[in-house]
Amino acid sequence: MTTISAAEPTRRDFLFVATGAATAVGAAATLVPLIAQMNPDASTIAAGAPIEVDLTPIAEGQIIKVFWRSKPIYISHRSKKEIEEAQSVPLGDLPDPQPDQARVKPGHDQWLVVIGICTHLGCIPLAHQGDYDGWFCPCHGSQYDTSGRIRRGPAPANLPLPPYAFLSDGKIQIG
């Protein structure tokens, strides 16, 4: 009997652990579809394809709003003054230091393309408002400059840049 009691527990333990492990694996695998179903579905992803925007109708000093992936994208046709303001700010004065050159495409200084979502809590800032000629968020008072950089208020970071490229001087593709 002693040999049985010595041998039995190991075999039994192995069986119990294997069964428990298999059940756990099955339960975990079951969670995959239950969780994945909440991610964007195929039609939503397909609808998020790149969009093209014609820049020619946008006058100097004008800011337009387009939508890409259900997000507002601000396209600002900046005036000389606005470009100068953006370029002349000492980086040390910025909460999230980033030179203006890093926020526009080379040779296209007059075009600023930013995602119009405040980096604080997601409201849409108003264009051409605030103390820095840029954007002012009405929710909690964050202020952005003509380069879309945070200057004052609770927002921690600059307005993010969407992926985009110039197809020609008068046309960009966002996405």
Binding site: G26, L34, D41, A46
Partner: protein, 728 residues
């Protein structure tokens, strides 16, 4: 510190916690162990909410008779299925839109675009069938072993209430996809209430929220379909509570008397239930992954149309016996009364059965009548799927009569005249024998009941020619589409079908997705650009046309139904998105059973090939309406579509023969993919799940053997056997 925390009864409730009046071997009362909080923190909590103690006494130390057979695992299986249905249902609701104009397409959106949406929906739709299957086995088990008799009457009636709620829930859920069967099932079932004298019509209008089944009906059914499962869960709690008060019945029908007659619920019953849940999951997975539409109706892949009733409407298989009872009575009101009476009578079973012996094991006559009753139910189910004509009606009436005679005459009389076999005085005295054969017979009947399902659509009259079967690369458990065939099939659709037929549920991007024709991204973009898609409004407020993009849906050939009919001599060319699943033909017995096992689900594709090649001269003596063509395989034979294909009409570049036969097969394969774009993923994941479930069930089986070995060993020792020689 209050004195109560040191009271020795803390953590137990005042309610009767234990069933039976169990004794120890020395004759003193036996009480199973209760929960002892292992530390001060848990004791503090337990004194305020004794939930651990409740879980322990209800789920661990609760004594169950040691001689329960596998029929007793179906309560656990039902709990499992209820959880599956609620979880998958809650998830589906995240994507489903309960609006008459969008419901059908939102279900297809789930099937096509939502991540694993096809899996969740097939789990839910087949889960309903599995739920009812387990429910019927559970109910028949209760009838066989007399589990409804004193003191379990309330337990049984709660079960009948659960069953009624299940029927209501299942029915309303079936309405939600808003297909043709959904719509007409809703119409027929709600019209049952119109049989009520005086107020019937007012009640039906109230149920509909309109003058017919429509948008308001759908929305309220959706609301109730979401609510009722939680009501079921609540009654299940009462059901289990009642069970824990009176204790489980067992195959002998004699209550356990000593501690040794019982085993603790955990691990013994838990692992036994777990093993059978594993086996049941294999059956469930077979349906979900290999024959997901077998228990459904092809017509439900046609969007609800208030103007056209399908030629042969039948309910889901689990309502068929009651449907047969309804139709067997020639009077409207009496038919409805018979239908409801056939269910309500179950609640009176504890008093209709006058025998004091519970288990059919010791009731030789009742045992025969029980099986006769099972056969009656199965046959009624089969008759419910048949058209109400000729011999079927006579059989339905005889069996309906027997259904009620069984309850009202046979059961009360049997208790008076039957001479039961001697009932053992205790469980230990009852030798374990028999049961095996009954198990197998019942399993055979259960299978027959399951597959004796409604067949199938397409108004096929007796003696019609059946479409010949083809060899499809995508048939069977490992089937895959032939990419070349799908690409050729698309070309046939593109060059021929799309002149009249829309493909509204598909987007161009689908053509490039895995598991489909798998055109390259450049080819998809080029195909999309060929089409003109309506967009807008532009900055001037005008709608405009632009070249299609991969994300766009296939634009329809006609702006609306009226335009389509006008251009096609009054006939409406159906949308082709789910056509391959919406068309079927009657396979007949035993072929539809064999199809479930092979598995073969390609009837729609076979039908399409046959139809495309089935044009023939109008037989003598038959007049065709003007503009109609004779087709051997079209229901009614008069089809509005002229023969669409002829040799050489589509140019293939891959060297495949340019014949009508090849075109028909290719376009049928393409439409099968269009209807079921996740077919390959389904079969692939299905194989993985099957392997896993077989391994898991094997492990559960051996674990169960190990766990129960402890219980069985003492008895073997008493017989003088060495425990080592027993099988593991």
């Amino acid at each position: 510190m209050s004195g109560s925390s040191t009271d020795k009864t803390h953590g137990t409730s005042d309610l009767k916690a234990w069933p039976y009046n169990l004794k120890r071997e020395d004759g003193s009362p036996y009480e199973p162990p209760t929960y002892k909080p292992p530390n001060a923190i848990l004791r503090w909590f337990e004194d305020r909410l004794p939930i651990m103690g409740l879980s322990y006494t209800a789920g661990v130390s609760y004594p169950t008779p040691r001689n329960l057979n596998y029929w007793w695992t179906f309560g656990g299986i039902l709990t499992f299925m209820l959880v599956v249905q609620i979880v998958t249902g809650v998830v589906l609701v995240m994507h489903y839109i309960p609006e008459a104009g969008m419901a059908f397409n939102s279900v297809e959106h789930i099937m096509r675009d939502v991540n694993y949406g096809w899996l969740l929906r097939y789990l839910h739709s087949n889960g309903a069938s599995m739920f009812f299957l387990a429910g019927y086995i559970h109910m028949f088990r209760g009838m066989y072993y007399g589990s409804y008799k004193a003191p379990r009457e309330v337990l049984w009636i709660l079960g009948v209430i659960i069953y009624l709620l299940m029927m209501a829930t299942g029915f309303m859920g079936y309405v939600l996809p808003w297909g043709q069967m959904s719509y007409w099932a809703a119409t027929v079932i709600t019209n049952l209430f119109s049989a009520i004298p005086v107020v019937g019509d007012a009640i039906v209008t109230w149920l509909w929220g309109g003058y017919s089944v429509g948008g308001p009906t759908l929305t309220r059914f959706f609301s109730l379909h979401y609510l009722l499962p939680f009501a079921i869960a609540a009654v299940v709690v009462l059901h289990i509570w009642a069970l824990h008060v009176v204790g489980q019945n067992n195959p002998t029908g004699v209550d356990p008397q000593t501690e040794k007659d019982t085993v603790a619920f955990t691990p013994y019953a838990t692992i036994k239930d777990g093993f059978f849940i594993g086996l049941f999951a294999i059956l469930y997975a077979w349906f979900v992954f290999y024959i997901p539409n077998f228990l459904g109706h092809a017509d439900n892949y046609i969007q609800a149309n208030p103007a056209v009733t399908p030629p042969h409407i039948v309910p889901e298989w689990y309502y068929l016996p009651f449907y047969a009872i309804l139709r067997s009575i020639p009077n409207k009101l009496l038919g409805v009364i018979a239908l409801f009476a056939s269910i309500v009578i179950l609640a009176f079973l504890p008093w209709l059965d006058t025998s004091r012996v519970k288990s059919a094991r010791y009731r030789p006559l009742y045992r025969q009548f029980f099986w006769l009753f099972v056969v009656t139910c199965v046959l009624l189910g089969w008759l419910g799927s048949k058209p109400p004509e000729g011999g079927y009606v006579i059989m339905s009436r005889l069996l309906t009569a027997w259904y009620f005679i069984h309850f009202i005459i046979v059961l009360p009389l049997l208790g008076l005249i039957e001479q039961p076999k001697p009932v053992p005085r205790s469980l230990s005295e009852a030798a374990l024998k028999g049961g095996k054969a009954a198990f197998l017979i019942a399993l055979a009947f259960g299978t027959a009941a399951l597959i004796g399902t409604p067949q199938r659509v397409a108004a096929q009259q007796q003696g019609e020619v059946q479409p010949p079967r083809n060899t499809w690369s995508f048939a069977g458990p490992f089937g895959k589409f032939d990419r070349g065939q799908l690409q050729r099939g698309f070309k046939v659709y593109h060059d021929v079908c799309q002149t009249c037929h829309s493909l509204a549920l598909l987007s161009f991007r689908n053509l490039g997705e895995e598991g489909g024709p798998e055109f390259s991204a450049a080819e998809v973009t080029a195909i999309a650009a060929e089409y003109k898609v309506k967009d807008g409004p532009n900055d001037q407020g005008d709608m405009f046309e632009r070249p299609g993009r991969p994300a766009d849906h296939f634009p329809p050939p006609f702006p609306n139904e009226q335009a389509a009919r006008f251009a096609n001599g009054g006939s409406l060319p159906p949308d082709m998105s789910v056509l391959a699943k919406a068309r079927q033909y009657e396979r007949g017995f035993p072929w539809f059973v064999i199809d479930a096992f092979i598995p073969y689900q390609e009837l729609g594709a076979d039908y399409m090939v046959a139809l495309l090649k089935g044009y023939a001269p109008t037989p003598a003596g038959m007049t065709m309406p003007s503009g109609m063509q004779y087709n051997t395989y079209f229901p009614g034979h008069a089809i509005g579509m002229p023969p669409p294909l002829s040799d050489g009409v589509v140019t293939y570049t891959d060297g495949a023969p340019q014949t009508v036969d090849q075109y028909a097969k290719d376009v049928a394969a393409f439409l099968m993919w269009a209807a079921e774009p996740t077919l390959e993923a389904r079969k692939r994941i299905g194989f993985e799940v099957m392997i896993f479930l077989v391994v898991l069930s094997g492990l559960l089986y051996f674990t169960k053997k190990k766990v129960w070995h402890d219980i069985e060993k003492p008895r073997e020792l008493a017989r003088g056997q060495d425990p080592k020689t027993t099988t593991m």
